[in-house]
Symmetry: C2
């Protein structure tokens, strides 16, 4: 059975959402997103492990306060999946797609060159989340001779990082994080640009 790690940073989560959410709200939303990801992993039939920077009172987790890349690599052993805690559009179906795709390494890209989820089944694979990690991960696979498959998923590709991501949660979300945002915000459309955003209800 693939081990599924969900890295989670406890201190000051989601700082890029500061323009629309205060520190307490960012903590709340961040925990809802974590809960939704864990629920989706469980509903897909896997047992997730939170890799947390600090103890979480009500959850069993591995605690490792080192930077993300170091912490993940320390706990990477074949075969391990790493699913980010802010993938609030995640569903059990897409977790199954990720984990049932064959390949030494399976990667789900995120907006901006990131790697939002991956499965590592090759002993020499290591993560490097700095910068445009998607290309770095593909390069690493080539170097170590690992076969790589990509998951083409909008849900896994959408991490909730910035105010512009909140409409995505309102439109496509199905979990507690979407409900939390829906209680506080509504989708609005800028009449000049036609672009959508959120405003407080």
């Amino acid at each position: 059975m693939t081990r599924v790690l969900v890295p989670y940073r406890v201190a000051e989560p989601k700082t890029r959402l500061a323009p629309v959410l205060d520190a307490n709200e960012r903590r709340e939303l961040s925990r809802h997103m974590l809960d939704d990801v864990l629920s989706a992993v469980r509903a897909a039939g896997y047992d997730p492990t939170v890799l947390s920077t600090a103890p979480l009172s009500e959850k069993e987790c591995l605690v490792d306060d080192r930077p993300l890349t170091t912490a993940v690599n320390a706990h990477l052993r074949p075969e391990t999946a790493v699913v980010m805690a802010d993938l609030a559009l995640t569903t059990p179906a897409v977790i199954s797609r990720l984990l049932e795709t064959p390949g030494d390494v399976v990667v789900a890209p995120g907006r901006g060159g990131g790697t939002n989820a991956l499965v590592a089944r090759h002993p020499d694979f290591r993560v490097d989340y700095h910068g445009a990690s998607y290309r770095d991960h593909l390069d690493r696979c080539e170097t170590i001779g690992a076969s790589v498959r990509t998951i083409d998923s909008y849900r896994l590709g959408t991490d909730i990082d910035e105010p512009v991501d909140l409409p995505e949660l309102l439109i496509h979300g199905t979990g507690t994080a979407a409900d939390w945002v829906d209680d506080r915000f509504t989708v609005c459309t800028d009449t000049e640009t036609g672009r959508i955003g959120v405003e407080r209800v």
Copy 2:
């Protein structure tokens, strides 16, 4: 065989890319993206029809200069797929996924609540691309009693609209539009925010 419409606006395409591309470059990129979408549709085994606002000298196309929604609805008959011309990350595989998914209506959402691609197989379905069209299309399906399926695709979800989308093309693109951008730009990372962008080579 499903008819595949690819709407294309000839005049002043891609104005939101004006911060990084001049008018002539925007026309060139826009044509490359159209060509890539048409190639992907053909490679998937379908025969695309360009629904153009003006004649295109070297291509067979339907010409209809009315607004997008009006023009598409005028040419919508079961069964018809509508694939946007700026989906420059499109591959034959994802076109096949779209067209082989059953359902009265099949929708591939795009960033910001848009509908980047769809298949209409219900006689009462009509498009409405204004605003957050994805939700409107789902609502319409409910009203007319049409079954609806969603395609969870990063490639179909990514239209190339703004400067922030160009790194997506450089990282994930495989066609002539990606080559065109690659000849002119390179991915760069903002050392402060860690976010990626593009700069002229």
